[in-house]
C-alpha cells in the first residue's frame, strides 16, 4: 500500500513537472498533497496529515491558481 501511494506520488510529480498547462500541474500538486496526507495517516502521524491536507491541498492551491490567473497559463509554442 505504501509502495503504491509513493509510486503514485512520484508519477504525479513527474506529470506536474512535464505538463504544458500549468493549471494541470497545480491540480497534480494538490493530488500529491492529498495522497501524502493519506500516507501520513497510514503511518500513524495524524497531526502531519491534517497540516498537509489543509496547507498543501487547500491554501497553496488557492495561491497557485491566483498566480496563474495573473500570469500565463500555457507554455509558448516552440518555433
Amino acid at each position: 500500500m505504501n509502495i503504491l501511494l509513493l509510486s503514485l506520488i512520484l508519477a504525479l510529480g513527474v506529470y506536474a513537472l512535464l505538463a504544458k498547462d500549468l493549471l494541470h500541474s497545480v491540480i497534480a500538486l494538490s493530488a500529491i498533497s492529498m495522497l501524502s496526507a493519506l500516507l501520513f495517516t497510514i503511518l500513524r502521524a495524524p497531526d502531519v496529515a491534517i497540516t498537509e491536507a489543509a496547507v498543501g491541498a487547500g491554501v497553496s492551491t488557492v495561491i497557485f491558481v491566483w498566480a496563474i490567473r495573473h500570469t500565463q497559463r500555457r507554455d509558448k509554442e516552440e518555433p
Partner: protein, 243 residues
C-alpha cells in the same frame, strides 16, 4: 535535443539516488531515548494528552514563537507587495470576485456552483477549524492546523457571499492578527511571574488544570495563523480596499 534532455534526467536521478540510497540501505536503529522520555513524562509535565502538542507548546514553545515570527514577516512582505500591485491596477482586478455576475468584468471564474457550495460549506469548515484548534491538546491537530482550516473557511465565505461582512473585511482581520500576537507575547511572559521562566506554564504542573495554558496558546496561535493567511488570500483576490 531529445538526447540532451535524457542525459539531464539520468544525471538528476543518479544524484538523487546518491542522496537517498544510503538512508534506505542503512540499518541503524531509531533513537529511542527521547521517545521513551516523552512517552513517560509528557502528559504529567504539560498536561496534554497529545504528545505533539506537549512538545511544541510545552517543551519547545520558544520555537513556536519563532515560527509565528516567520509567518508574521512573510505575511508582512506579501502584503507590502500586494498593496503596491493594487495601486497600479485598481479597477480591473479589485472588483472581480465579490460582485454580482452582472457587475463583474470577468465572470469566467465565478459560477453558480462556486457561490452555492462555498457559502454553504464555509460555516461548517469554520466550526471544524475551531474544533481542531480547541481540542489540540487531546486529539490530533492544534493551533496551526486549526488556524489554516479557519483561514480556508474565511476564504470560502469571502468567495461565496456577496454581502460584505465583518468576518471577511481585511481591516478587522488584521486587527485580530495584531491583537493575538500581542496576547502571545503577554502569555509567554506570564510564566516569569510564576517562577517557571519565559514560556513556562504559569499553572503548576502537578494540577489537573495545567493543560489550560496549552489550550490558551492553541487558541492564540490559531487566531494568529488563521487571520494572517485569510488576510493574505483576501488581499490577493482583490478585497483589500473595502475597509
Amino acid at each position: 535535443m531529445k538526447k540532451l534532455e535524457l542525459i539531464k534526467i539520468v544525471i538528476t536521478v543518479l544524484l538523487c539516488s546518491l542522496l537517498v540510497v544510503p538512508i534506505i540501505l542503512s540499518n541503524h536503529s531509531w533513537p529511542t531515548h527521547a521517545r521513551n522520555y516523552l512517552l513517560a513524562n509528557a502528559q504529567s509535565d504539560t498536561g496534554a494528552t497529545n504528545t505533539v502538542s506537549a512538545i511544541y507548546l510545552g517543551y519547545r514553545a520558544m520555537d513556536t514563537l519563532g515560527e509565528t515570527l516567520v509567518l508574521l514577516v512573510s505575511v508582512t512582505g506579501t502584503m507590502a507587495i500586494l498593496v503596491k500591485l493594487g495601486k497600479e491596477q485598481t479597477d480591473e482586478e479589485t472588483t472581480s470576485f465579490s460582485l454580482t455576475p452582472e457587475k463583474r468584468p470577468t465572470n469566467r471564474l465565478r459560477t453558480h456552483l462556486l457561490e452555492t457550495v462555498a457559502s454553504k460549506l464555509g460555516p461548517i469548515v469554520l466550526l471544524f477549524g475551531f474544533y481542531v484548534m480547541l481540542y489540540g491538546h487531546i486529539s490530533p491537530g492544534g493551533g496551526f492546523q486549526g488556524g489554516v482550516i479557519v483561514a480556508s473557511a474565511i476564504v470560502f465565505l469571502a468567495l461565496g457571499t456577496e454581502v460584505k461582512s465583518k468576518l471577511t473585511s481585511t481591516f478587522v482581520l488584521s486587527r485580530i492578527e495584531s491583537l493575538s500576537f500581542l496576547l502571545l507575547i503577554l502569555a509567554s511572559i506570564s510564566g516569569v511571574f510564576f517562577e517557571s521562566g519565559f514560556f513556562g506554564n504559569p499553572i503548576k504542573s502537578a494540577s489537573s488544570l495545567s493543560a489550560n495554558f496549552i489550550i490558551l496558546l492553541n487558541i492564540i496561535i490559531g487566531l494568529k495563523v488563521g487571520t494572517s493567511i485569510a488576510v493574505m488570500c483576501i488581499a490577493m483576490m482583490g478585497g483589500s480596499h473595502d475597509h
